[in-house]
């Protein structure tokens, strides 16, 4: 088995990737999947040369990333799908097929990822349909009832019970990956911040880590700690927002409004740090734009102390209600084995008992020196996903208070020079939803030749589909909010 083994954010020579022929490529990927690796990307290295692709697989147990090249020059772009044995690869195959004309043979369910009205294997695509007596179909979206992003949902129901939910996305597609190749360095960070506005810091973090590796720049510890503090504030803010939304979806107004108030405090802390409630403008290549001073530290500490004091009481109140538990428990369950098979990541994976957290398994930035705890729950239902948010808020608060008390001195920005030529890097960051992957390659002139992004939502939307199986359709909003996935991040 041939593969290039790298660590998170390790700069590697593009030419050191072993390219195998079609069959060897398939078998090598299969071997790694069988060893428990998770696919994190399937993409060409150079957009102009789509016949050469790489499969990137992450081995969480050894913190290693495997890169295997497949050379399709001179042969047709058909390959035997891995998805029948390893369902986690099925969506990556769909994406490769949609973007570059590859065709996975015997694929269990080839479907559109972002494009509307496409032809797959000479046939127009049709939604999966359930037939029989008393079955009916419910179509929702792209525009939904609340202020949320667009997406289309097809429910196949028998009475109130959902038998299949098909999620059809792509409405948000803005061509972000292409824009990365056309943009200069200042604009690239802003683009990264706009991939998913709720994960501004997560994506900026992954992007800066990737590009800084290509610059071969080392950051000061102070800059790294400021970054991780901001990332944890984002996690707290969005978990509070999630808990508020979940409370709202069971009609429990008091916790919904109380969590909303605390979220304001969390995002106002980000505004104190960098002027934007979402952390826009904080990240620059080589460090951060804004330093912490006593005034900022006090503002952040004051805000987060209120959050720390209030959130535990609100959470106790929410979870001690019988009404809450009856709605949360055993609703929208994804069992551990299923979660592993379909390759769930992040919050949703940990709620199903999988140990998946890039901050611990692929440590980067200040998480290398200041560890954070892995928190998992086992039930995989709405209860677990809500409860895990509450637990992660506590842990993130602990992390921030630890770090902010002991900020090391130092510059906040290191010098950068030019991008390494013919190089590549894989950057993994744990956003609040889960694993964010940014993959960057440069050409012989030092320009970006491909930029590939994977938002955790790409893995997890299918989890929501399966969570809905044999669940009442009226529980859909609650299940949806418990996953709280990004449309823009998926559609890019």
């Amino acid at each position: 088995m041939k593969s290039l083994e790298v660590q998170n954010n390790q700069l590697f020579d593009k030419n050191s990737i072993p390219y195998l022929n079609k069959n060897e490529f398939r078998n090598s990927v299969l071997d790694l999947l069988a060893k428990g690796c998770r696919m994190i990307s399937l993409t060409p290295v150079d957009k102009k040369e789509p016949q050469k692709i790489i499969a990137v697989l992450a081995d969480s147990s050894s913190s290693t990333i495997h890169i295997i090249g497949g050379d399709f020059n001179g042969v047709n772009l058909e390959f035997e799908s891995w998805a029948n044995e390893f369902p986690q690869t099925n969506y990556f195959e769909c994406e490769l097929s949609e973007n570059y004309g590859y065709f996975p043979l015997n694929h269990p369910w080839l479907r559109p990822v972002r494009k509307q009205n496409i032809i797959l294997g000479n046939q127009p695509y049709h939604f999966f349909k359930l037939e029989g007596e008393e079955v009916h179909e419910v179509a929702v979206g792209p525009i939904h009832a609340g202020i949320i992003e667009p997406g289309h949902f097809r429910f196949q129901c028998h009475g109130e019970v959902v038998y299949n939910l098909e999620i059809n996305l792509g409405y948000q597609h803005r061509g972000v990956e292409n824009l990365f190749l056309q943009s200069n360095s200042d604009k690239r960070i802003i683009l990264a911040e706009s991939i998913a506005g709720d994960t501004t810091i997560g994506h900026a973090f992954a992007h800066c880590n990737a590009i800084e590796s290509l610059y071969n720049t080392k950051l000061s510890l102070r800059a790294e700690i400021v970054r991780t503090i901001a990332a944890e504030i984002e996690r707290i803010a969005m978990h509070l927002s999630g808990l508020g939304g979940i409370s709202n979806d069971i009609g429990f107004a008091l916790p919904a409004s109380a969590y909303g108030r605390l979220r304001t405090l969390a995002i106002n802390s980000l505004a104190a740090i960098c002027g934007s409630r979402f952390g826009r403008g904080l990240f620059v290549y080589g460090g951060v734009r804004y330093d912490f001073n006593e005034e900022i530290i006090n503002a952040v500490k004051n805000n987060l102390s209120i959050v720390q004091n209030d959130v535990s009481q609100i959470t106790d109140y929410l979870f001690s209600s019988v009404g809450t538990l009856s709605r949360f428990e055993e609703t929208g369950t994804v069992k551990k084995e299923l979660a592993k098979d379909i390759g769930l990541v992040g919050l949703a994976a940990r709620s199903s008992g999988l140990e998946e957290d890039a901050r611990i398994q692929f440590p980067y930035s200040a998480y290398r020196y200041n560890p954070i705890s892995m928190i998992t729950l086992s039930t995989g239902d709405v209860f677990a996903r809500a409860r895990l948010r509450a637990l992660e808020i506590e842990e993130s608060l602990r992390f921030i208070f630890d770090q902010i008390e002991n900020l090391p001195q130092g510059e906040i920005k290191s010098e950068i020079n030019t991008l390494k030529t013919n190089a590549g890097v894989i950057s993994i960051v744990e956003g609040w939803r889960g694993e964010i992957v940014h993959i960057a390659f440069t050409d012989e002139k030092g320009n970006l030749s491909n930029y590939k992004i994977k938002d955790p939502s790409f893995n997890n939307w299918y989890g929501l589909s399966l969570a809905l199986r044999e669940t009442g359709i009226s529980d859909f909003p609650l299940c949806n909010k418990s996953f709280d996935l990004s449309y823009a991040g998926h559609d890019l």
Binding site: I143, P150, Q172, S194, G260, R261, T264, G281, Y317, A488
Partner: protein, 249 residues
Amino acid sequence: MDDAIKIRILQGDPVIHDVKNVQLPSRYRGLPKIADKKCPDKCTKCIDVCPTNAIRLNPLSIDLGLCIFCPLCEEYCPEKIIHFTQDYRLVVDKKEKLLVTKDTKFISPDIASEKIRKYFGKSLKLRQISAGGCNGCELELNALSNVNFDMGRYGIEFVASPRHADGIVITGPITQNMAKATEICYEAVPNPKIIILFGACAISGGVFKSSEAIQRKFLEENKIDLYIPGCPPHPLTFINGLLDWLDKK
């Protein structure tokens, strides 16, 4: 029940009572001010770094429809001519008014027509359409209904159905895949109706302006009533803009 009262007491009084005079954090970037100073000869630094080409020279101006309120021009200007203030009142009713020059002291929309104020002055229901919005603008619009901003107290609310709405609020650059749905949704709103563009992406395409995946024909074919600049705009920007436009105290 006791617990509920405890939580209610914890809430305190979180409402921002005076939305017109809020001191935002010192690093917040609101209305840019252009100092009445001469640019150095042949200097184009601000233009070169602006990620959305929002800046023009002779005379120096910033188009708030394009501006994403990043600090780059302020950072690169050798003479400190451009400076972002904490003024969060940025809403205008005409595209031309989005242009900030050295003469701009503050900006505000003209008061809406008598008809609009008669119909919507006391109750304005809006349907939001996310058409490629990254969820930044969407989160800020959601925040308008929380206990801090509580926009409902002014009679302005978001509704689920376009049939119940008096207008639409668009976020995002309008992707090709959302162009049709945006049109259908707007058609479903009964007359008279308004269109509000929220955020740089909606107003100009923002950082996605040059992308082939967006389709902005809808905006050329319809009259826009309000422009809300920002990336994303602050909730207070939205509230104040609507209060000014509807001439509400």
